[in-house]
């Protein structure tokens, strides 16, 4: 494949600014890679015409010596961000033909900084899933799938298309969203970097809502510095989102040092699970050694309510989802399946439009919010959620960041864990706590499993302290020197 499709954001940016390459050339290289990589099913909608027009405009700005933070850099966007005039499906049949008349704030920021839209990536339906197998547009294939393996491996989820597209060199970077681990777990499964910032950093305006108190946008890239650059362009205050934080966005990209000397890194004792694969435990220990060798101080900390995080999440998230998804009634947009009367039309529309996992979560949410059960489930979960937040507050009095595995396993095969919803939910055991507490978290590829599949380590930070986790992640990246390439990646 073209050498251009291998470039990361920071490197491509430097070459664009030196006028060694053009945005159109770079965009064409990605569009060709996307075409060759179609078997991965990473994209729901490709936007080649729009991409080339945006690239031409970027070249014109670059020629004038102008241009934003991402001028001329092609990116993919999870199909959960509304893009004006470009179909946005949320991976659902109910929105299969929805063309938003408005733009999400995060994507508007990207275009204002000169980025080029390559297309909209596949995802679990309404971002509900950990394997990208609940998409109405078919599963995504992990580019790390060994040739000939059937069934192929999942990329993780819910942002599986974004992760596969970046890992498979179809694009240098992509946006994602993370409600319980939907950026970090696929990043781990696909051997790339994925960062979810503090809740409130990125505007949720124009992102199809799943669980509003947990949803947060973030970035995928093949290096920490690239992820920092993309996130920097995405973040910032937005009056259109009542939970958006009115705080300046630091220069994460320029400020990235990778220095961990003197930092205290916490190892949460409760993340050592019974039955955790030895190779994950070993990689975690190795990560701690790498940081110690670079001058960090390792401290053991306790997060005693960790085991209650997933059950808490599976009350809070479905409850919020059942409320958010009530808007899909077939009246003003989306699918409509006519029935005998109004209520029957609602029921048929929603029965036909939602897939099995989304239906399951809406029903759980409706149940836990229904009269007589609200206190026992929803209110109880909100109280336990506070205990989880307090655990982190106590831990952060003793350390500056936490180091944990990202996921309890490497990528599994399509169809595995699909019989039992709870076994699928357990994928997010290390990531979901971060959403419940609204903290920033990042996954960095740190090694491979016995079968040669990527494994990530997660760094968790204090609220608003993305800078520290980026530095720790950079230090891990340097020490891990992860150079393995997926067999599914196009040849150089």
């Amino acid at each position: 494949m073209s050498e251009l499709a291998r470039l990361g954001l920071v490197e491509a940016r430097a070459r664009l600014r030196r006028r060694e390459i053009s945005a159109v050339e770079l965009t064409r290289a990605c569009l060709e890679a996307m075409e060759r990589g179609r078997h991965l099913n990473a994209f729901i909608t490709e936007t080649p015409d729009r991409a080339l027009a945006m690239a031409e405009a970027a070249d014109a700005r670059l020629a004038r010596g102008a241009g934003g933070l991402l001028e001329g850099l092609p990116v993919a966007v999870k199909d959960l961000f509304c893009t004006a005039g470009v179909r946005t499906t949320a991976g659902s049949k109910i929105l299969a033909n929805f063309v938003p008349p408005y733009e999400s704030t995060v994507t508007a920021r990207l275009w204002a900084e000169g980025a080029v839209l390559l297309g909209k990536t596949n995802l679990d339906e309404f971002a509900m899933g950990s394997s990208n197998t609940t998409s109405a547009f078919g599963p995504v294939i992990n580019p790390w799938t060994p040739p000939g393996r059937e069934p192929p491996l999942v990329p993780g989820g819910s942002s599986g298309g974004s992760a596969a597209a970046v890992a498979g060199f179809l694009c240098p970077a992509a946006t994602g969203t993370d409600t319980g681990g939907s950026i970090r777990q696929p990043a781990s499964f696909c051997g790339i970097v994925g960062i979810k910032p503090t809740y409130g950093r990125c505007s949720r305006f124009g992102i199809v809502a799943f669980a509003s108190s947990l949803d947060q946008a973030g970035a995928f890239a093949r290096s920490v510095e690239d992820a920092a650059l993309l996130l920097q362009a995405m973040a910032g205050f937005d009056p259109k989102d009542g939970t958006s934080a009115d705080l300046p966005v630091p220069d994460w990209s320029g400020g990235l040092s990778g220095r961990v000397k003197g930092l205290r890194i916490g190892i949460p004792r409760e993340y050592r699970l019974d039955g955790m694969p030895a190779e994950i435990e070993a990689l975690w220990a190795k990560g701690a050694d790498w940081l110690r060798a670079q001058g960090a101080e390792l401290v053991e900390v306790s997060l005693p309510h960790t085991r209650y995080a997933l059950p808490t999440y599976y009350i809070v998230a479905p409850a919020e989802a059942s409320s958010n998804l009530a808007r899909y009634d077939g009246m003003r947009y989306g699918l409509r399946v006519p029935g005998r009367d109004l209520v029957d039309t609602y029921k048929r529309t929603r029965g036909a439009g939602f897939g099995a996992e989304v239906r399951r979560r809406i029903l759980i949410g409706t149940y836990v919010l229904s009269a007589g059960y609200y206190d026992a489930y929803y209110l109880k979960a909100q109280k336990v959620r506070r205990k989880i937040v307090q655990d982190f507050e106590a831990a952060f009095t003793r350390c500056d960041a936490l180091l944990t595995p990202t996921a309890p396993s490497a990528a599994f095969a399509i169809g595995e864990k699909s019989d039992d919803p709870v076994s699928m939910y357990l994928n997010d055991v290390f990531t979901v706590t971060v959403n419940l507490a609204g903290l920033p978290g990042i996954s960095v590829p740190a090694g491979v499993s016995a079968s040669g599949l990527p494994l990530g380590l997660q760094v968790i930070g204090r609220p608003w302290d993305e800078a520290t986790i980026l530095d720790v992640a950079r230090a891990l990246e340097e020490a891990a020197a992860f150079r393995a390439l997926p067999p599914g990646a196009p040849e150089a």
């Binding site: 008349p101 059950p311 809406i362």
Partner: protein
């Protein structure tokens, strides 16, 4: 608590989702499995704990009460499943 078929049918009705008869039974088992798993939260002592509704204390800013947009009927109707004369067409609501 044990979940039965009637309860799941009632919840599906509340959620306005048509569930085919033959899918009801497997759904009862799945939902019961999830609920019995989340019920382990009962072990946690939450006496006197204030429920958490928002992770960060966010000061809601006041803004002037001014019209910010409008005159976008075409954009609003663009995705309508059915439309007529600049209106949405919906099933009869009042008998």
């Amino acid at each position: 608590m044990s979940l039965d078929r009637a309860t799941v049918a009632r919840v599906a009705d509340l959620a306005r989702i048509a569930v085919p008869e033959e899918q009801l039974e497997p759904l009862v088992a799945e939902l019961a499995g999830i609920l019995s798993w989340v019920e382990q939260l009962a072990e946690v002592d939450t006496e006197g704990v204030e429920p958490l509704r928002s992770v960060h204390p966010i000061r809601r800013a006041w803004r002037p009460d001014e019209v910010a947009d409008g005159n976008c009927r075409e954009a609003i109707l663009a995705n309508a499943p059915e439309r007529e004369d600049g209106f949405f067409v919906v099933p009869r609501v009042v008998e």
